[in-house]
């Protein structure tokens, strides 16, 4: 079968110790049997390893940081599209999603660049600080949470929470605090990096399990694969993981997708308590960095997302292989200074 040619732009090329999902998404796209995908990388920093992975990424362009706003991003994408004729864009960072969601219609109408992202409402209602309301709305267990804006609020937390508790940043980072001093320290550390508010969450004892999933925006779950981390780095990132057979997790995922009519990719982070109850602790509105495990287990979620973005009918996956593992590794690429110079000065490579 002749594969259709498509140009897909992908962000999240920082395949470092806290890896972005870009490279695994790219690998999934390149595995496609139906599409001959040419990857355009979009980077924020000249040292993102994906920029130099020429066997995966045809060309990379620097784009402005999310804080620069939608106009700067749009302007840059106009330029990139004038050269690359992008068909689909897949953003992979939480922090950039707001801009991409806001620009989605303009990108499609003005430049013909399609995407398949959560709606702004979905994006907002699953924010960490809105999660308790989200749980109530969709009838899902959520650990007790509270949003705080000042370090002074920590001293009174004992009235509502028992230690340990989890101190979380609005986009990334979470640390378990065993007393108020530790909570204060984590508050400063996380807020200086990601800003306010800080989310305080009840610590739930149990096993962490994650699901990578894709929703079609009409209530259908196109694919879902549950995974348990087997090796965790000091940043809490999975360095090895295994697919699970867990009907309860799948039921909860399908319920969430159906009730929220979730559109696009997501990662559900959950805790299964020793009593067997499942608590949703976070929803990331993008693919996880371990999404290639789903591809290896028989569900190519990045390819499914590409098809959805192109407006094609996608049949939901019905199975995946249980007991499939991923083991991550780091790899030293040897790169020429000339390439670093080019991306640093010209903003494209």
């Amino acid at each position: 079968m002749k594969r259709k040619k498509v140009n897909v732009a992908v962000t999240g090329l920082n395949n470092v110790d806290s890896p972005g999902p870009g490279i695994p998404v790219v690998r999934g796209l390149l595995d496609s049997k139906e599409y001959d995908v040419r990857i355009i990388g979009l980077s924020y920093d000249a040292l993102e390893p994906g920029i130099y992975m020429h066997e995966l990424i045809a060309k990379t362009y620097q784009i402005p940081l999310p804080s620069a706003g939608q106009n700067s991003l749009m302007e840059r994408l106009r330029y990139i599209n004038s050269i690359e004729k992008i068909d689909v864009i897949i953003p992979n960072f939480d922090a950039e999603l707001f801009n991409f969601i806001k620009l989605a219609d303009t990108l499609e109408m003005e430049l013909g660049i399609r995407s398949f992202l959560p709606t702004l409402e979905q994006f907002e209602e699953r924010q960490k600080y809105n999660l308790p309301e989200f749980g109530k709305k969709y009838d899902i267990n959520i650990p007790k949470s509270k949003t705080i804006h000042s370090v002074a609020e920590i001293k009174n937390l004992y009235q509502e929470f028992t230690y340990p508790l989890v101190v979380k940043g609005k986009f990334y980072d979470a640390s378990v605090a065993y007393n108020a001093d530790q909570a204060t320290s984590y508050f400063h550390k996380i807020s200086s990096k990601w800003g306010l508010p800080i989310i305080i969450q009840e610590f739930t004892y149990g096993t962490e399990v994650n699901v990578t999933a894709v929703g079609d925006g009409r209530g259908n779950t196109i694919g879902a694969v549950p995974m348990r981390k087997q090796f965790i780095t000091d940043k809490g990132k999975a360095w090895a993981g295994i697919t699970l057979e867990d009907g309860d997790l799948m039921d909860l995922t399908r319920k969430l997708m159906k009730n929220s009519k979730w559109k696009g990719p997501c990662e559900l982070e959950m805790i299964r308590t020793n009593e067997g109850e499942i608590y949703l602790i976070e929803i990331n509105p993008r693919f996880p960095a371990w999404v290639y495990l789903a591809v290896g287990a028989g569900q190519n979620h990045p390819e499914a997302l590409l098809k959805l973005a192109l407006g094609e009918k996608v049949k939901p996956f019905t199975k995946y292989e249980t007991g499939k593992m991923f083991i991550r590794y780091s790899y030293d690429m040897i790169c020429d200074l000339k390439e670093f110079e080019t991306i640093s000065t010209l903003g494209e490579l």
């Binding site: 096993t207 995974m227 348990r228 087997q230 993981g241 295994i242 697919t243 699970l244 057979e245 867990d246 020793n274 009593e275 067997g276 249980t322 007991g323």
Partner: protein, 86 residues
């Protein structure tokens, strides 16, 4: 007590629980016991088999079998005959 249906048990003694993602290794006698449990053999039948096959006294069998069965239960690879364990 029997081994849960979804537990994968290989001939090398590798045990995989697909619900939790946990995996374990058991020695040849552990493997033999787990296979007999998979065949729904009762504890008494298994203990009798071990007593006849290996040079070991009844008290040691009782103690070691009890320990092993408890360990399997703790690792959630077994379920009771009447009620499914978590």
């Amino acid at each position: 007590m029997k081994i849960k249906k979804n537990i994968a048990l290989s001939d090398t003694g590798f045990v995989f629980n697909p619900a939790s993602g946990d995996s374990f290794s058991v020695n040849p006698i552990g493997l033999e016991i787990m296979k007999l449990l998979q065949e729904n053999k009762s504890h008494e039948v298994i203990k009798k088999h071990l007593l006849e096959t290996y040079s070991v006294d009844k008290d040691t069998i009782e103690k070691d079998f009890y320990d092993f069965a408890k360990m399997l239960e703790q690792f959630k690879v077994t379920e009771s005959d009447e009620k499914k364990e978590s």
